[in-house]
Symmetry: C2
Subunit: 321 residues, 2 copies
């Protein structure tokens, strides 16, 4: 068995090659550019971990891992266009570097490339994997649409936000584990438990994301925190603050959301702290982590096989960037 | 056996239902809107014709036909964005009606929906169909990129244009026939001949497209011809005119391409006619048609099974819009 760290290294090595043909260079060079700017590669490693939970890693798990990483990168290229983002991982985004039209096509062709990797999976598993991959892909698009819809709404409920995050982020994490598990020969019931584990981990992951963007240590975070606050993004923190704040704090928050004053981040953070949003977020994250681990416990394999997945969960939750 | 006309009617009836879930409505209503604005539905009918050439139509051919039509519509939604087109089939395009971000996601989710239809094909054929579908999808994106690259070039050779059209248009027509044929149980050699038939028909189809846009009868064409000329699109006609024109005509053509004078279309058409571009286009179309039919003759099935495909080819080549 491999540790979470070893599998990360193995995947990074395996992924480090061109994923597209050379020609037409005007389409594929921008695609390779984006795949080479890095990333945590969490989703593909989850495919390998899902397989390893039940049996030795099959070569198909690598095809699947490539597919999932290509799909994830497709969503990033198109999301960056929708968000008009100029930087991703500190590098220029595809649409800024190569123009909107090429970025649109680069995203499209990355998704197709993902399906090319799926297609290489042995026929016995192909149909089932394709079904999960398709329904997950659709849900990710639905999550992105809801995220855009929420931007136009003054208030979003916590439940609605969690539903959006589940679609936009959690289901792909959960499906990565489960598709890997199917290649590993997992039973239907074990897959169900693993899927629930992945979904809960995904929500905890997003809480950590939102938390770091507000309260992260700039030196460790790699960039100045407060990006979400500047953009008035509806995060776990803002949604909860608007729910628990007193009347004056609410008025101040809505005022700050309309303003672009230089001390906006500082002032919003002060209200967050006064509302104890930071402690609440930590508690909520712990709640989802506990629920996730309860599902993991229900999976009928010897405990030591679960260790790499437990290590992954702790890595995701304790990360500082 | 069904005639080409009967299969068109059968497909239109079969396709006439919602292809997406209801929620989120902000994503899926725009998708349904676009699928409902019509279209010739040539590609899905080619899937059925490809199947019928070899055996009675299997339900899988309808799954495939749905997939191909969804894929084609995905390319239209994204192409309309890239071309900044405001109308498609006389109706407002998705990005104009619902905004760029939604149009981007609608295209994405249409492609995923196409793969959902593919996924329903029986396991014996799934892997092969998925392989052809993927490689064709990639080629269509490559063709679109080349088309955009050509827009920035002053001169494009006829060979380069044919290569671009082959990728952007022909391969999907050819693959539609062949994937249908695979479901119908065709041999590898018959598939090869059918693929070449489809590719040649695709090029003849584009010649007809370019011809109609310049020389079409406005009353039959449904819109004023000359759209390509106004946009300086590198068509079969313009490329050939620039190859055979005398020095003065070339100077005039390049001058006209830079201008937006009200008689631009009229003047370009006069040069086209002086260069006998219309007769040349008719001849070139006939050449590709003949080559296509030679491949169809090589297909080892009784002649009467070929009649619906022959009817389709004649319909495509003699259409006035």
């Amino acid at each position: 068995m491999y540790s979470f760290q070893e599998l990360s290294e193995k995947f990074n090595k395996e992924f480090d090659h061109p994923h597209f043909p050379e020609s037409p260079n005007t389409l594929y060079a921008p695609g390779e550019y984006f795949l080479n700017i890095g990333g945590k590669r969490i989703r593909p490693v989850m495919c390998l971990l899902g397989n390893e939970l039940f049996s030795d890693i099959h070569t198909d798990a690598y095809q699947l891992a490539n597919a999932v990483e290509l799909f994830h990168n497709f969503t990033l290229v198109h999301d960056d266009m929708m968000d008009a983002a100029s930087l991703r991982r500190g590098k220029t985004t595809v649409h800024i570097k190569y123009g909107d039209n090429t970025a649109l096509l680069v995203g499209d062709v990355m998704m197709i490339r993902a399906y090319e990797y799926i297609q290489k999976i042995q026929p016995t598993h192909l149909s089932k994997i394709l079904q999960i991959f398709n329904s997950t892909a659709k849900e990710v698009c639905e999550g992105q649409q809801l995220d855009m819809d929420f931007e136009k709404m003054e208030k979003v409920s916590l439940d609605a936000y969690i539903e959006m995050i589940t679609l936009k982020t959690s289901v792909l994490l959960a499906a990565s584990l489960v598709m890997g598990a199917i290649i590993g020969g997992a039973s239907e019931n074990n897959c169900k438990q693993l899927y629930e584990f992945g979904k809960k981990i995904g929500i905890a992951y997003q809480i950590q994301d939102d938390y770091l963007d507000a309260f992260g240590d700039a030196a460790l975070f790699g960039k100045e925190p407060g990006g979400d606050i500047k953009q008035n993004k509806k995060t776990f923190l803002l949604i909860h603050a608007l729910e628990v704040a007193n009347e004056q704090q609410k008025v101040d928050l809505y005022e700050l959301m309309k303003s672009e004053t230089p001390d906006k981040v500082e002032k919003v953070l002060a209200i967050f702290k006064a509302c104890k949003v930071d402690a609440w977020a930590e508690e909520l994250k712990a709640k989802y982590m506990n629920e996730a681990f309860a599902h993991l416990e229900n999976i009928a394999v010897v405990e030591k096989r679960k260790q790499p997945i437990i290590d992954l969960a702790h890595y995701l939750m304790n990360r500082t960037k």
